[in-house]
Symmetry: C2
Subunit: 354 residues, 2 copies
């Protein structure tokens, strides 16, 4: 694949590109960015090694897929990208987008794709029409959910790293994707923020039902209960997943909401308190750890931040990318033991959810 | 108009029909229900006076509109209604539906409507694609929001009655509809439960912006923060509207969630506590009164329930249909005075929302 980021290299907006470079580097031929053409991904994004940035699709003739690598607030494809996408279609590449503006709703793209026999893939497209049922939930599967004080703060990365860390620790764990980037990385999932509101709880519940054969599932969070735009998505997901444990993710140094810089973020204490009370409306739950996104800070500063937040919240804290997820893995294993979900023996503790 | 309820006469499922009979009786020619044909609406629904129930559209030749009068869980049109809808189309009647299954997504209805020149109106259809912006909110407009412990518990009726009561008390107040029935009654609004989750907060905010020229707006609530299916809708609306005051609505005697009878309802105290903390994430807010839906109970039983709940919660309580909304009107007027929103003089108290 070639990933387009053309003109958008900051880590928040280009998070799809950066996550693909981090988790699917083997499949990436190049990143299309005219401003940085000639550099390597390591130089520009800090991940992706020697994968080149290119200024023309002709430089990557072997690529058969073009992936839109950004997630701007509002979810619209930048208008100046039109010629790039049309050229990819003319090269019969599949074009993959996770944005709210669907490729196949654009008459010009659709005509071009039909003419050239190219595929248009809209990752956010879905036909979710089922309400939650609260039936068939498997009690023995431990449900972990990554949450945040904001959107774009590392919930997906924390989820992937935590699930992988649990796997390395011998636990049968799966990452469950709920957003376009996670779906690209995991190869499956549901773009919950694009689901019709009435059916979001049902869509989240179906993700649990589809993955609860694992001993632990780590369901990627979306938005934040505190975000003026996306709290609806965060609550539908929280209540549909009915997690046993939460991992609080936040970006170090950020003081205001992503995309709404006039509104201050709540304190982490308030985030923990409100998330726990919101989750407990449906199912017993608590925050078991904190994941610090220390992107851009020194190792020493991130270590100090983790110590500080661990002491403030009384929770294990780490930057899963910098330190590895071991502290969070240990917290999840402890919760699993405490809830009696690690043993195949039927546990005593039960509730209405089975 | 003719309202179809065919086979669905209970007050929860037939709430669209009953509300139209209550608030728009002048426009209703008849209700189509083959089982009760020959009776009057007063006999069957307790409202609508002598408006007849009919078993054939031929009995109402003057009607030019057929309205789907039910709101079943899941929002689908009963399959056995197909011949009724096709006959209405053949009679060149407009067919109006608020259900999730759109009329115009049905090839047979669409073909028939084109052939006969009939209109298909899907009230839940929307193209909301704007995120919340938190700009231009008018501070002087008092925002009231009706909430519930469950869906289908009287939030729309309470909103209409409260706005009308405020009007009678000389306050410039407007009811703002957020569901299909409210939209039919008010003639405008947004079907928020059908909006894509990412844009629900924005859609709710736009309803505020469009109506805040009034001194008080009473925004109809949807679902409940406690409902396993619809909590997402309730939070998106709550955070988009940023109410100053809430009115708690509940159905007397109901013990389990509507449509999920295996899950018990939370206590009213818990509902008040969690709704207030959820609302305060965005804006200062408190519950100012309770609206009891005493449908099916005696006057004495409803009066006793109102006294009991008023004392338990320390809030004024009434059944707005049976007692009128005066206690709630007084509570809203008190809140308006307390927040300094009744005077045209610029008040001292401000916050980041203007």
């Amino acid at each position: 694949m070639v990933i387009v980021t053309d003109g958008h290299r900051d880590t928040d907006t280009a998070k799809t590109a950066i996550c693909l470079l981090r988790y699917c580097a083997d499949e990436v031929v190049a990143v299309f960015d005219r401003q940085s053409a000639g550099k390597t991904c390591r130089e520009v994004f800090g991940v992706g090694g020697a994968i080149p940035l290119i200024g023309s699709l002709a430089e990557a003739p072997e690529a058969d897929t073009l992936v839109v690598g950004i997630a701007p607030p509002g979810g619209r494809i930048p208008p100046h990208w039109r010629p790039i996408i049309l050229e990819a279609i003319a090269r019969r590449m599949s074009v993959v987008s996770g944005l709210h503006d669907f490729l196949r709703d654009d008459a010009e793209y659709l005509r071009a794709a039909e003419r050239h026999g190219a595929r248009l893939v809209d990752l956010r497209d879905n036909d979710e029409r089922d309400v939650a049922r609260r039936e068939g939930i498997r009690r023995r599967c431990l449900r972990i959910h990554t949450i945040g004080n904001d959107c774009c703060c590392g919930k997906m990365v924390c989820g992937v790293e935590l699930a992988r860390g649990l796997g390395r620790a011998g636990v049968d764990a799966a990452f469950v994707a709920t957003g376009q980037t996670g779906i690209l990385v995991a190869g499956a999932g549901c773009p919950v923020d694009r689901v019709i509101a009435d059916f979001l709880g049902g869509a989240a519940e179906k993700l649990v039902l589809a993955n609860q054969h694992h001993d632990v599932i780590v369901v990627e969070g979306q938005g934040s209960l505190f975000h003026p735009r996306y709290s609806c998505v965060a609550l539908g997901l929280l209540h549909g997943v009915m997690p046993d444990g939460l991992v609080l993710c936040y970006t170090m140094g950020r003081r205001t909401f992503f995309g709404m810089e006039n509104i201050p973020l709540p304190s982490l204490e308030k985030v923990v308190e409100f998330y726990e009370s919101a989750a407990r409306v449906m199912h017993p739950c608590r925050v078991v750890g904190a994941a610090v996104n220390g992107d851009g800070f020194s190792d020493a500063a991130v270590a100090a931040e983790c110590d500080r937040v661990a002491s403030r919240l009384g929770l294990p804290a780490c930057d899963p990318l910098r330190h590895g997820p071991d502290k969070l893995v240990e917290a999840v294993v402890r919760l699993r033991r405490e809830l009696g979900k690690e043993s195949r023996v039927r546990p005593r503790r039960t509730n209405i959810y089975g």
